[in-house]
């Protein structure tokens, strides 16, 4: 081929497949087509970008450590000094005013910026050293104490956002303002799905019990500028698990089959007349819908679980929408090879009476989160399932309002703790540390873990180079980590 022709081929490819991004991953979509030979791959790649038919895995950049992610998001932000950031130093500093040298001109929220003093409060509960690894974990989380050897606690997380909406949006989309695809959507876009009967990205919302809980927003599992089939599909604890899954007329399988057959027959006739491949895709999607009508109820029906399951997860697991039930559901989704399972537990935002309210939240999530890790381990699935647990920022070591026993803690973006376990993670370890006040990260340039670093690491574990997972929009190659993000090698097994 002469160079000029070859050049034009490439030029054309760029113009037609939107240069770069879509050409790369889109190609994978081309490779696997509907059974109908008339369906042309190019059309799908063009219309939907990358993204895969159900049951169709995408390429990875290198061998993945984790095949799937279960992300237990603790919305509202748990307090690090009361959960995973053990600070014996605070025993002495308790009640002392936070020195300016530590605060260092830190931006405060409108809620405590007018406060006159900033007395430190040590953790209101005890910590215990657990497992062979000897990790310190709060007694508020007795079930977590059992999985200490599985957990890698990152104590040096930090973010820039200081209010809930931008902070949680940042965490889940890599940007504080709305408009970007969520982590799960990126994973769905980059990896496709390995289950033909379920979506690649599933969202579970725990029922909320805290009457001052922060809300959540569908942008957190949205697809941003990615094609919208990558957005998370909510599995609900009430009503239809998937919106409109159930036929409201109560039609049985046979009747539904009959309807689909008539539809398929008519659609097929039309397809033969007009040749539009979208019609064939539509037929296939109705078939997948039919399969989902069977697979989703099976998925959410726990009656096949033995008693031991409920012993492990707790009796709560019998009540749909509880954290325990959703953790169990997450395990069942993982068993069915759903790629990205995003769970939200709301209510950690305790600006007042934190010692009274935090234990209640801890009790809601402790057993379920821990049981999930144990369960995955005993099924041999923890090795290729990544579990992530944490909130959008930390809470201040100093008291907000109140007195020495009854106080709140304000938002704290400078340091906080999360944990990860499973696929590719070095269990029984911790990473990074905070100063005596749990106010700043020690050696932040090398040990600080920014949200972009965490997201880069999660993608890395999935076999994706975060710098190469891009989507072209508005003339730019966008990626989850913007122009940032470094793999946190210290947490990797």
């Amino acid at each position: 081929m002469d160079p000029l022709t070859e050049h034009h081929i490439n030029l054309t490819r760029r113009h037609f497949l939107q240069r770069g991004t879509t050409a790369g991953l889109g190609a994978a979509a081309l490779a696997s087509l509907l059974n109908s030979p008339t369906i042309q791959a190019a059309s799908r790649a063009e219309k939907n970008g990358p993204g895969y038919r159900p049951g169709e895995a995408g390429p990875v950049h290198f061998a993945p450590k984790a095949k799937r992610v279960i992300y237990l998001f603790q919305s509202g932000a748990p307090s690090q000094v009361d959960t995973f950031d053990y600070k014996p130093t605070l025993e002495k500093l308790d009640g002392q005013n936070l020195p300016d040298s530590i605060r260092g001109g830190q931006r405060l929220t409108g809620m405590t910026s007018r406060q006159k003093s900033f007395p430190a409060a040590k953790s209101f509960n005890k910590f215990t050293q657990c497992g062979q690894s000897g990790q310190w974990i709060s007694d508020m989380l007795p079930h977590h104490q059992k999985i200490a050897d599985e957990m890698c606690i990152i104590r040096s997380m930090y973010t820039e956002a200081i209010n809930h909406d931008p902070a949680i949006t940042f965490f889940q989309t890599g940007h504080q303002q709305p408009g970007r695809p969520s982590l799960g959507a990126w994973a769905s876009y980059g990896l496709g799905s390995t289950n033909a009967n379920l979506p690649a990205f599933v969202v579970l919302l725990d029922k909320n019990s805290d009457n001052q809980a922060q809300p959540t927003y569908s942008r957190l599992w949205g697809s941003g500028f990615l094609p919208s089939n990558h957005q998370g599909v909510k599995l609900r604890g009430v009503g239809d698990p998937v919106l409109y899954l159930k036929d409201p007329t109560g039609a049985g399988l046979q009747e539904r089959r009959e309807m689909l057959d008539v539809l398929a027959e008519l659609n097929q006739q039309r397809f033969e007349q007009v040749g539009d491949p979208e019609i064939a895709t539509r037929i296939a999607q109705y078939e997948m819908a039919y399969r989902m009508q069977i697979s989703v109820p099976e998925l959410t029906d726990f009656s096949d679980e033995p008693e031991s399951t409920f012993k492990l997860y707790g009796e709560d697991a019998r009540t749909p929408g509880t954290h325990a039930a959703n953790c169990l559901l997450a395990r069942r989704l993982a068993e069915r090879d759903v790629r990205f399972i995003q769970l939200y537990h709301r209510g950690w935002d305790h600006h007042s009476n934190l010692p009274g309210r935090h234990p209640k939240l801890a009790k809601e999530v402790d057993q379920g989160s821990s049981a999930l890790v144990q369960d995955l381990r005993s099924r041999g699935m923890l090795d290729d399932t990544l579990v992530v647990w944490g909130g959008e920022f930390g809470r201040t070591v100093y008291r907000q309002g109140g007195n020495a026993t009854n106080y709140g803690r304000d938002h704290h973006p400078r340091c906080f703790s999360i944990w990860m376990a499973g696929g590719g993670i070095k269990g029984g370890t911790s990473y990074g540390e905070t100063d005596d006040w749990s106010y700043n990260i020690v050696d932040k340039p090398t040990k600080g873990v920014h949200i972009h670093d965490l997201n880069a690491t999660i993608l890395h574990l999935l076999g994706i180079d975060h710098k190469r997972l891009t989507y072209r929009f508005q003339g730019r190659h966008y990626r989850l980590t913007d122009v940032h993000g470094k793999i946190v090698k210290g947490v990797l097994a």
Binding site: Q285, M288, A289, R468
Partner: protein, 1019 residues
């Protein structure tokens, strides 16, 4: 993303597309060279000053060709002496460009092309989209009979270059369906189809297009696209995402499209309607466009941070919508590809930075303006009132001989004696809830002791009058022993009297007394006294805001017929609200005086000297007098006048304040923000357009008005192209420039550059006539083509960018829903007004946010005015967008969006199959099939099929449907309960005149019809 291992896969597919596009024989810088440089070199050698390496800039000719220590990066005509070529070809990893770590690499062909370009003189023409369009000459084509307009010449010329032929014309019904969807968002009705098919005149298409463009649905449909671009929503986004009222602005948009406001005016009013020398409230209303962005109420935020975000949002939205420029890329640094520096960004920012607004709760400035859609309504009402007044005066004159007749009647009325009320303790009092009832000295009755959640007081009245009884007065009285010293035993001091029931016994026969009217001195909203005499108990009743307003209350109940004096009268006070919302102390009085029937409001009016009466009192009194003394026709017209006046007054005050733009007094300085951060102000800049495009005229202040005029001015290269391209995208699915949001150097090369320029120039020359432009396209041969896709062409041009066939695409979610409503006959035609709440799965709002005081449940109303309006009126909550729409790719509306994705997913099947909206629509479509489709099953099936698809089914299709119908019919005949379940879905009851199994069987078939791929496709 570059995955070398995959390129081979894609290449095989792409290869087949190539000949289609291989048209360039001569090198065109903008098309062939600039994309290579932009993609591979501009990151370090482009417009961004700070990122620039080796001080080399390759996007500007002077700099790229300048001598550098005796060398040239590019020496025109001499590739051998151009360092660029040497570096591109180098095999030394230290030397080669682009550097390997960038991940970029040029293909051999690309290098050859650059070489050829340098040899030919390295012409650097400006990026095409930055040069104002000129009207191109219309190309000649071999085929001469096909084209109907200039548009077609451009399209055909390209097809002929590719050796392709256009598709045959689509059949007429298909064209009408396509045009109806594109101009109104609704399918044609059977009647419209029949009329069009019968019109054999050559102007039939044009007439149909004009009819569609004149339809009020046109404005609704066009406005819907605009709402995506304008990120319109009914909530504030961010955190709790609470309600806002911005719908009057939406009405403005609908009105503007329907009145075919020229697009330049449309632009100027929305960007700067407040700054026009002849600004009116309506032009100020238009500026709501730039206030549609999300606004935060999150307590802890830094005010300036969010205020900055709002201004940035306006820059992003304005530059995307009118300029197709990705200005956001220069928020933190100079644009990497386009000539927009960071300074330009903030100069543009300065236009929108003058609003007197806050970041936290930044809802002001707001303005209470009437919807433009109501302006016409106002005139209509005014005329109706004038007409009614004429009749009224004439009748009054006729009745009384003079206009003074009212004064005479008033005298008569005021001579009637005031009623005397006789108070008494009931002779027998029972509390059904087990409370203790005790008479106090003032003859009132106090309840104490057991306090049940609901309560009925059963009272037998004393006979203390010899006159027939005409009315009972009930006083609810405060007492220290009651909740907070109120009148009630309820948990919060309020009561709800569910029913005030009066019966009497005469000769051992019990009679229920009909209460003609009831009056109370105070009524809580939605808990009027009429609810206490409506014959129904339950939660509804008369309440008095007792939790916040502590006072004695009085109500009067007037009987339709007097109760004979000798009867024993029994009263039952029913409190069934719950929470012990019962009156705790009350007193009953009775009267036999006729004047008791004069309502208290009238008595009050009568007691005032005429000049002291309010307008309302005068009107009430007048109507009452007419009612008492006048003939029925006068009563009727007076009532009509009152209701018309009320409607007119209500229409004016009903509008919420709309957020609009305004300029603050003095000037807010605009700084370049380092890294785009609100708290890192740098150099001060004035408002200006990006310097690459020149600057604003000096004789006018550099404000939004100047910007709007520049956007629509003769030198602007972008606005007309970007806009025409978006209309093209609406009709054909893809724009001529596919990246309709980006016309910059990284944009997709236009499929028909000359056509785009022709459309842009034509659009401007027509006076920015939107309807005119759409009509031209709709009538073109290009648009009229059949959309059948042959396998060959699909392999070659899968996106139909060459336009070798007509447009074919899945309809947007809104159109799909509106079409189903239209097919079922349920669609409500009312235009404009507040957003409505159609069917919505339970609990979606609360599961994301259930904080008391900051959240609410979806209201789930049952009335047709909420359920069956067009989807543009559906309440749009940004954090939970309407699920039916979202499933079909509607955006959240959190930011500007000018191009939706168009997916094909199983979740869409669930919506069409199971959303009650579609099931109910199928039931009503079935009803129409049975009632209007004819008497034979085939006729009915044909009718239904045609209603949904705009065409007659083939014999084969009909046979499939017939089989399905018969099968369903047999099923429902054998299982009537399941038929009833199907017919019970939705809020409207089923038509009981229809045979149940038959109705159900047709409903099942109608569901299949609404689920057809064809039903949701514009083909």
């Amino acid at each position: 993303m570059r995955c070398p291992s995959l390129l081979s896969v894609s290449a095989t597919v792409v290869l087949s597309v190539v000949p289609t596009l291989l048209i360039a024989q001569e090198i065109d810088y903008a098309r062939d060279i600039q994309p290579i440089l932009s993609e591979n070199c501009y990151q370090c050698h482009g417009p961004d000053r700070k990122a620039r390496k080796a001080k080399l800039r390759l996007d500007v000719r002077e700099m790229a060709t300048a001598e550098r220590d005796g060398f040239h990066a590019i020496l025109p005509g001499k590739p051998e002496e151009s360092i660029v070529i040497e570096r591109l070809l180098s095999s030394d990893p230290e030397e080669v460009m682009p550097p390997p770590k960038s991940g970029n690499k040029l293909q051999r062909g690309e290098i050859a092309l650059i070489r050829k370009w340098i040899t030919e003189g390295a012409d650097f023409s400006r990026h095409w989209a930055f040069i104002p369009p000129k009207r191109p000459s219309v190309p000649k084509t071999t085929r001469t009979s096909w084209s109907r307009s200039a548009i077609d010449h451009f399209v055909l010329s390209r097809l002929e270059q590719e050796g392709l032929a256009p598709s045959p014309e689509a059949d007429r019904a298909t064209w009408l369906r396509r045009a109806s969807f594109d101009l109104t968002g609704l399918p044609p009705t059977s009647a419209e189809l029949d009329a069009f098919l019968a019109d054999q005149s050559p102007s039939a298409h044009a007439k149909a297009a004009e009819r569609l463009l004149a339809s009020p649905s046109y404005g609704e449909h066009m406005a819907r696209y605009w709402l995506d671009a304008a990120r319109y929503a009914d909530t504030n986004g961010y955190q709790y995402d609470r309600n806002r009222d911005q719908w009057v602005w939406r009405d403005w948009v609908i009105h503007a499209f329907n009145t075919n406001m020229s697009f330049d005016r449309f632009t100027i009013e929305q960007i700067a309607g407040d700054l026009l020398p002849d600004a009116t409230d309506q032009t100020r209303l238009a500026t709501g466009f730039n206030r549609n962005h999300p606004i935060t109420i999150e307590g802890g935020v830094i005010d300036e941070e969010y205020r900055t975000e709002y201004v940035v949002d306006r820059v992003v939205t304005t530059s995307t919508v009118w300029m197709g420029l990705t200005m956001i890329c220069s928020r933190c640094h100079d644009h990497k590809f386009d000539p927009v520096s960071q300074k330009d960004f903030y100069s543009f920012f300065a236009f929108f930075n003058q609003v007197p607004e806050r970041g936290l709760n930044g809802f002001d400035p707001r303005l209470k303006v009437a919807s433009p859609l109501s302006v016409g309504q106002d005139t209509i009402l005014g005329n109706q009132i004038a007409d009614a007044e004429k009749i009224y005066r004439a009748l009054l004159l006729e009745t009384g001989g003079s206009h003074d007749v009212l004064a005479r009647w008033e005298k008569t009325l005021s001579k009637r004696p005031r009623p005397t009320w006789k108070t008494g303790v009931p002779i027998r009092m029972t509390s059904e809830g087990g409370a203790e009832l005790k008479a106090l000295d003032d003859q009132s009755v106090l309840a104490s002791g057991k306090n049940p959640t609901t309560e009925i007081y059963d009272l037998l009245l004393t006979k203390n009058s010899r006159k027939p009884m005409r009315a009972i007065r009930l006083e609810a009285l405060m007492h220290p022993s009651l909740t907070n010293g109120s009148t009630s035993r309820g948990t919060n001091g309020n009561y709800v009297l569910s029913e005030f029931e009066v019966t009497y016994k005469l000769a051992d026969k019990v009679h229920r007394v009909k209460i003609a009217t009831a009056e109370a001195d105070y009524e809580q909203q939605n808990y009027g006294i009429e609810k206490a005499i409506d014959g129904a108990t339950g939660k509804a009743g008369w309440a008095v805001d007792g939790n916040t307003k502590k006072a004695n209350r009085v109500a009067t109940f007037l009987f339709e017929e007097p109760i004979p004096a000798e009867a024993a009268v029994r009263v039952r006070m029913i409190h069934s609200f719950g929470n012990s919302h019962q009156i705790g102390r009350f007193r009953l009085s009775v009267t036999g005086d006729q004047s008791a029937s004069i309502p208290s409001a009238i008595q009050k009016a009568l007691s005032l000297a005429p000049p002291k009466r309010t307008t309302t009192q005068r009107e009430q009194l007048r109507n009452y007098l007419i009612g008492q003394f006048g003939p029925p026709e006068l009563v009727k017209i007076a009532a009509k006048l009152t209701s018309l006046r009320r409607e007119k007054a209500g229409a004016k005050t009903a509008f919420p304040a709309t957020m609009v733009m305004a300029e603050k007094p003095g000037i807010r300085m605009t700084h370049i923000l380092e890294r785009g951060e609100y708290d890192k102000p740098g150099e001060i800049v004035g408002a200006n357009i990006p310097s690459f495009f020149g600057s604003l005229p000096q004789n006018h202040p550099a404000d939004r008005l100047a910007l709007a005029k520049w956007l629509t001015g003769p030198d602007n290269p972008l606005t007309a192209r970007v806009t025409a391209n978006r209309f093209w995208q609406q009709l054909f699915g893809l724009g001529i420039v596919k990246s309709s949001e980006d016309f910059g150097r990284q944009s997709a090369w236009p499929s028909h550059p000359h056509l785009l320029d022709w459309l842009a120039v034509e659009f401007v020359d027509s006076g920015w006539d939107v309807k005119g432009l759409l009509k031209q396209i709709i009538l073109s041969a290009t648009y009229r083509q059949s959309s059948r896709i042959s396998p060959g062409i699909h392999t070659r041009d899968p996106e139909n960018r060459l336009l070798s066939h007509g447009p074919r695409m899945r309809l947007d979610g809104e159109v799909i829903r509106d079409s189903a409503l239209s097919a079922s006959g349920l669609l409500q035609p009312q235009i404009g007004g507040p957003s409505v709440y159609p069917y919505h799965p339970d609990g979606l709002w609360m599961e994301l946010n259930n904080r008391p005081g900051y959240s609410r449940n979806y209201p789930h109303p049952k009335d047709p005015k909420n359920l069956y309006r067009r989807s543009i009126y559906t309440y749009w909550k940004r954090t939970v967008p309407p699920p039916t729409m979202a499933t079909f790719d509607a955006p959240e509306r959190e930011f500007c969006m000018v191009r939706r994705s168009r997916t094909n997913t199983p979740l869409q099947a669930f919506v069409l199959m199971h959303d009650p909206q579609f099931v109910e629509a199928a039931r009503f479509l079935a009803q129409r099939m049975i009632q209007k489709g004819g008497s034979s099953p085939d006729d009915r099936l044909r009718f239904g099929f045609r209603t949904v698809t705009s065409r007659v089914p083939s014999a084969g299709e009909l046979a499939i449907l017939r089989r399905a119908l018969n099968k369903r019919l047999a099923h429902y005949q054998a299982d009537e309960p399941s038929a009833k379940t199907l017919l019970g879905i939705g809020s409207l009851p089923r038509n009981e005149n229809l045979n149940i199994p038959e109705h159900a069987a047709y409903t099942a078939v109608a569901r299949m019809l609404l689920n057809l791929s064809e039903a949701i496709t514009k083909g």
